[in-house]
């Protein structure tokens, strides 16, 4: 041993330490990679040694190399070894390495659980600290679940150093394991009043983060935070608290009123810019929340705007930037107060700093009005010309379009001007936003009928000068505009002055170099133009012109028929044949124009973007059901990337496939794609997807690039500026006319009114065109709701938990010592017993806790210890229960939450009312708070804290000796009889207080073993057993209790239960759900855990036995992956299962 140590220290003398490594890397600048690879080899040797000091040194060096970008994941296990060293020196290095290198995918993380737990409970605070710090970086859902309880205990550690770390890490734990939030929250709340300022600030940080995501659950903490805010002098903490209030005020306007005063005081007094900025932001949030009802806060707005102006005028670019940012928030609700600072904002557009210019642009968006739109856009167009970088120029372009098109073109008075602006924008070289301009052109041309004539003329010019736009078709996004131009010219060709010329322009050979989807539009619209030309010449004696047109098409179209693009090819060949046929008819002097026009007759109306989503699913159509049998696993995987409406994947995955079968599949897929390309009903997702079909042929045709350094003025293109002048003149004229009219009126009426010589108001400006904006079409019976566009993947969604609801037993954090039992017991002992007892018990307890109200929070920690002790006892206790428990539990659960939340809410009300409030609001809240006092006082006598203690042992005894002591059982049954009476009573009048009584009573009820659970289905992941019970309240319903047991060692979630209804028996689904929707099982299953869910079926006839087919789908989430699984089952309803069990009296 001693020899070993000596050897170790000698080894270490020759090893490189970190400093040597860094120095070495710096000395080997030329062959760094080579040097490092030799170093890594050395490190690998070092890691093989037994000496932990050598290992730690190696891991330390690896951490450095990891930062340089080298992969060190191979050493993950060695890192764990160093972490588990008993020496702090090495432990520290190990945890540092782990926090730098580990992530959720690291598999050795599983191995660390026990080590971390050991370190957390270490007597040395720095061991614990280092473990907490490391854990905060790599905590996984599994670690969070396993360690939540340990960390929660640390929140009450004696050392503030540990407490603050434990509090902070809880936030990470909540994110990974949302179930821990409710049990841990009371303690977290306590920490807000911790004597140590560091712990306090940590608790503020965590609650602030939580509350920002789900503010409504934290509203009841407002008084506490208010107290903290007015007492704290720590700016770091103040900022967080004020930010928290910013999140809460939108939910409770009265809170805002209370806040205004202290916040404005802070704004006046503080010298810290960060605090000032936070206050201004929160005041803005308050004002937004108050914006409707409160006229008296203009002073606060003025104060904010004033302060922001000071920030914007500051020479510090940071303050300028933030000032603009905050200003844009005010703009939304108080545009008037911002608009007066237009000068300042336009000035910021000239700033050197691009980020500041962008912020100023954002502000401009909200500042436009009918009056100043043209002027502002003119200024922006100047900036477009000046802009050096393409990104900023593109940003300007999108902003111009945004500004003009906002709220359905609200501010545009002259659409000719807007079209000219769009046309001017097409002159930008190398912009990515050709598509955007194109869609604007289409939108305006389609929806503003009055502008079509003008638009068509402009588009014809564009088409004529197409060569200017298509300098380099491959890179140039602007050619997208031609897509719009061609379509507009074709669709509204009746407005064309010279359709023949446009037709000629559209069939130039150069067109063949455009992207395929544009060519396709060209070809199609050439046909429309052809129809127009024919009709124009119809009736003329000399049909020469018409025949010439046909000839033109016949000459030019073959070029497109050869196109490699299937869409183009197909359309072209179709139209070519059509034209040839028409030519034949023309030669026979047959009048064809009308029939050809009929091909393109009918108006195309715009469709609202959400229309597709809003089409209601017809009754009886299940979009998720398989039409045919589901294909085998491998095939379905193969098809995944191809979604009909989504973008096609540009790459073919053919090369990957090696097997013959795969090739066959690829071939089929190819065929399918081809089919889709030829299918006119197949909607292409985006034009770019077309490139998939581009054969190399087209791309290889050399394209002569016209390099124009001087921007060309396209002949005949309108200048938007002239519209500005015209508009001014027009407005002047209108004004003058109006004045004249007024004068006349005045003369008539005598001198009653004085002329308003002020600036013309918004309403005075009449639009130049009679704008007739066609509304977008929506499907019939579309639902009007704007359903949520929230991100379903947001991790904070899971933390939207009602914290005021009392804790249930099942929500306790898993404690290690009891885990094995929990794992075992459901599997072996309970199958034929009834587990519902547990849930029932829990619900009883739940109620008691509820009654205890506020005291509970303080007592919880004590109680929890108690519960742990009782846990084993409880497990023995499990026995069957009368069938109505299920039903009553449901009703209880429905009835209870309002009582608790209303009590909490009224408390808040009371606090809020102490602020000066308008009398109306006070009246409104006063009775409710009074009511709350009533209920709490009524509940108080019952809520003696000793009660649960007494009840439990008694229960234990009774169940243990039940079989022996029949006498006792008898007594209890009699009791139960009474209770049942109570129970019915409760259902008849459903009073809040009554339900509380009912709950306490039911707790003590002895439970005869009446129900039997049968196996429903089982696979390697999950086992389901079920029982059917009749229903006392409603004979036409039965309740099926299913116990789900997780048999795997993965996490099961998103379980969905579905049954194919028969005529006789139907699964009761929530309102609004379709007849085939599945029900979500309201819990998730950690490994080895079982839980019960109830499903209610309505039954037509109780004399018919039934077999219902059903499926359970669920997601198996293991460390590396998650898979979707399903389990089929058959539910047997025998006639006896409808029987209602009533106790018999001996």
């Amino acid at each position: 041993m001693a020899l070993k140590i000596v050897k170790g220290s000698i080894d270490r003398m020759f090893d490189k330490n970190l400093q040597d490594l860094v120095r070495g890397i710096r000395n080997h600048k030329e062959d760094e990679a080579k040097y490092i690879s030799t170093c890594i080899d050395e490190i690998k040797q070092e890691l093989k040694q037994d000496n932990i000091a050598v290992k730690a040194n190696a891991v330390c060096k690896l951490t450095y190399l990891q930062m340089l970008g080298y992969d060190v994941s191979w050493a993950a296990f060695n890192i764990v070894e160093v972490m588990s060293s008993s020496k702090f020196t090495y432990k520290r290095i190990g945890y540092l390495a782990a926090s730098q290198c580990f992530h959720e995918g690291t598999d050795v993380i599983m191995l660390t659980t026990n080590q971390i737990r050991k370190d957390l409970s270490s007597p040395h605070q720095y061991d614990t600290g280092v473990a907490l710090t490391g854990l905060s970086c790599f905590v996984t859902p599994d670690l969070a679940r396993d360690l939540a309880n340990d960390i929660m205990t640390l929140m009450s550690h004696t050392k503030p150093y540990i407490r603050k770390k434990a509090v902070l890490i809880m936030y990470k734990v909540f994110l990974k394991y949302p179930e821990s939030l409710r049990p841990a929250f009371p303690r977290l709340k306590e920490k807000l009043e911790d004597p140590d300022p560091g712990v306090q600030s940590a608790a503020v940080n965590v609650i602030c983060e939580l509350a920002r995501r789900n503010p409504k659950n934290y509203l009841s903490l407002a008084p506490l935070f208010f107290k903290l805010m007015t007492s704290s002098t720590n700016n770091w903490v103040l900022i967080k608290i004020i930010k928290l209030f910013g999140a809460l005020t939108p939910l409770e306007p009265r809170l805002g009123k209370k806040l205004i005063e202290p916040l404005t005081n802070l704004i006046h007094s503080t010298s810290a810019m960060s605090l000032l900025y936070e206050c201004v932001n929160t005041v803005i949030a308050v004002l937004i929340s108050l914006s409707s009802g409160m006229p008296n806060h203009s002073a606060s707005i003025q104060l904010c705007v004033q302060k922001l102006r000071i920030l914007i005028e500051d020479s510090d670019q940071n303050l300028k930037y933030l000032g603009l940012l905050a200003m844009s928030k005010i703009l939304k609700t108080h545009p008037k107060s911002v608009q007066s600072h237009k000068d300042l904002i336009l000035q910021c557009l000239d700033d050197k700093d691009e980020s500041i210019r962008l912020r100023a642009l954002d502000l401009l968006y909200g500042m436009v009005s009918k009056k100043n739109l043209m002027e502002i856009v003119k200024k922006l167009m100047l900036h477009v010309d000046k802009a050096e970088g393409t990104t900023y120029r593109d940003e300007l372009l999108t902003k111009i379009i945004d500004i003009c098109s906002q709220s359905n073109y609200q501010y545009i008075t002259n659409f000719e001007w807007y079209i000219s602006i769009l046309v001017e924008l097409t002159r930008l070289e190398g912009t990515r936003h050709g598509h955007l301009i194109a869609s604007q052109m289409l939108d305006v041309a389609i929806r503003v009928k009055a502008i079509r004539g003008f638009a068509v003329a402009q588009m014809a010019t564009l088409l004529d000068n197409a060569h200017l736009l298509t300098g380099n078709t491959q890179r140039n996004g602007i050619c997208e505009v031609l897509y719009a131009a061609a379509w507009i010219c074709g669709e509204f060709s009746e407005h064309l002055e010279d359709p023949m010329q446009t037709l000629e322009a559209m069939l130039r050979p150069k067109v063949a170099t455009l992207p395929g989807h544009i060519q396709a539009v060209y070809v199609q619209n050439a046909a429309k133009l052809f129809a127009t030309v024919l009709r124009k010449h119809e009736g003329e004696t000399d049909s020469h012109a018409a025949q010439e047109t046909s000839q033109l098409l016949i000459d030019r179209l073959p070029l497109f028929v050869q196109s490699a693009n299937l869409e183009v090819q197909e359309r072209a060949s179709c139209i070519l044949q059509l034209v040839k046929y028409i030519q034949k008819l023309q030669q026979k002097k047959v009048e064809v124009a009308e029939e050809v026009t009929a091909l393109f007759a009918g108006e195309l109306n715009p469709v609202a973007p959400k229309a597709q989503k809003k089409v209601p699913v017809p009754e009886g159509l299940d979009l998720d059901a398989w039409i045919n049998k589901p294909p085998s696993e491998s095939e379905s995987e193969d098809e995944k990337p191809k979604a009909v409406f989504a973008k096609e994947e540009p790459k073919h995955s053919r090369s990957r496939h090696t097997e013959v079968d795969e090739k066959e599949l690829a071939r089929r897929r190819e065929a399918r794609k081809r089919e889709q390309a030829n299918n006119p009903f197949y909607i292409k997702a985006s034009p770019s997807s077309q490139k998939v079909y581009d054969a190399p042929g087209v791309e290889h045709i050399p394209v002569v690039q016209i390099d124009l350094s001087v921007p060309l003025k396209v002949p005949g293109m309108p200048m938007s500026d002239q519209y500005l002048k015209l508009e001014e003149e027009r407005r002047q004229k209108e004004k003058a006319e109006r004045k004249k009219e007024k004068k006349k009126k005045r003369e008539k009426r005598g001198k009653e009114r004085k002329a308003d010589s002020g600036p013309e108001s918004e309403e005075d400006i009449a639009p130049a065109h009679q704008v007739d904006i066609v509304t977008e079409e929506m499907p019939e019976n579309a639902l009007p709701s704007d359903d949520d566009d929230k991100d379903p993947n947001d991790p904070h969604k899971a933390l939207d938990i009602d914290l005021d609801k009392p804790l249930a037993d099942s929500e306790k954090l898993p404690v290690r010592t009891h885990r094995p039992e929990v794992l075992k017991s459901p599997a072996e002992d309970r199958v034929n017993e009834s587990i519902p007892q547990e849930t029932k018990k829990r619900s009883g307890k739940e109620k008691k806790e509820k009654k205890k109200g506020k005291e509970k929070d303080r007592k919880r920690s004590k109680e929890e210890k108690k519960k742990k002790k009782h846990k084993e006892v409880e497990e023995e206790l499990l026995e069957s229960h009368p069938e109505e428990a299920v039903q009553s539990e449901e009703t209880k659960e429905a009835a209870t939450p309002p009582t608790s939340t209303s009590a909490e809410a009224s408390e808040l009300d009371f606090w809020l009312c102490s602020a000066p409030v308008p009398p109306a609001a006070q009246e409104e809240t006063a009775p409710s708070s009074a009511a709350a006092v009533d209920t709490s006082s009524a509940a108080a006598p019952e809520s003696e804290p000793d009660e649960p203690k007494d009840a439990e042992p008694e229960d234990t005894k009774s169940s243990k000796h039940k079989k022996k002591k029949q006498k006792k059982e008898k007594e209890e049954k009699e009791k139960k009889k009474k209770k049942r009476h109570h129970h019915h009573h409760h259902h008849s009048n459903a009073g809040g207080e009554d339900s509380v009584q009912n709950g306490t009573v039911e707790e003590e009820e002895p439970l005869p073993p009446m129900s039997n659970y049968f196996l429903l289905a089982e696979n390697s992941y999950i086992k389901m057993v079920y029982d059917i019970q009749g229903n006392h309240q409603d004979e036409s319903k039965v309740v099926v209790s299913v116990i789900f047991e997780n048999k795997s060692d993965s996490f099961l979630k998103s379980m969905e239960f579905n049954v194919l209804d028969s005529l006789n028996s139907k699964l009761q689904r929530p309102e609004g759900a379709g007849a085939h929707d599945s029900l979500t099982v309201p819990f998730q299953l950690p490994p080895g855990i079982s839980n019960e869910a109830h499903f209610v079926f309505s039954v037509q006839s109780i004399v018919m036995p039934q077999k219902l087919k059903g499926t359970l789908t669920f997601i198996v989430k293991s460390d590396e992956s998650s898979t979707h699984e399903k389990l089929d089952f058959k539910l047997h309803f025998t006639c006896t299962s409808y029987l209602i069990t009533t106790p018999c009296y001996l």
């Binding site: 001693a2 860094v22 020196t89 730098q100 890490i169 560091g198 933030l322």
Partner: protein, 154 residues
């Protein structure tokens, strides 16, 4: 909540990285690359804030080092600047007039200081004294261990 904190040199060499969210290696590398190119391409005398995806990037240059952190949408940028400044102060106090080389050669110390100041992307301790105290105390523990280990054990 802060998502990450990076320190890099004017040449774009990473000197320190702290990730408060566990991200796969590949994503980290991409972010580091994006950050260095974005921040280094900023002209002098421009504001210290950037938008990147849905995060706010706050950076500040101290001598030859750029300190760069990413915040969530509602976080306070000025507060982040103060956090960066406080970190520099802490480094300064620990190393005594800190320079880039101090951080290169004692990079684990720079991490230890940061770990006492921030945790999980939140401020852990606002008092400079208590941070210095706990770093010192841990170091003492480490130093004595090292002495102990270097002593011959027989």
């Amino acid at each position: 909540m802060m998502h990450f904190l990076l320190l890099f040199s004017r040449q774009g060499k990473l000197r320190l990285q702290k990730w408060f969210l566990p991200l796969p290696e590949r994503e980290r590398k991409k972010i580091v690359k994006d950050m260095t190119t974005m921040v280094l391409s900023r002209k002098p005398r421009t504001c210290n804030f950037l938008h990147w995806k849905d995060l706010k990037i706050v950076y500040k240059r101290y001598a030859s080092l750029y300190f760069c952190c990413a915040l969530e949408n509602k976080d306070n940028e000025l507060l982040a600047l103060e956090i960066l400044h406080r970190y520099v102060e802490l480094l300064d106090k620990y190393f005594g007039n800190v320079c880039e080389l101090d951080i290169i050669f004692n990079f684990e110390k720079a991490y230890f200081i940061l770990d006492e100041f921030l945790m999980g992307g939140e401020i852990q301790e606002t008092s400079k004294q208590s941070i210095a105290k706990s770093v010192e105390a841990s170091d003492m523990l480490q130093e004595t261990m090292e002495e102990y280990m270097s002593k011959p054990a027989f």
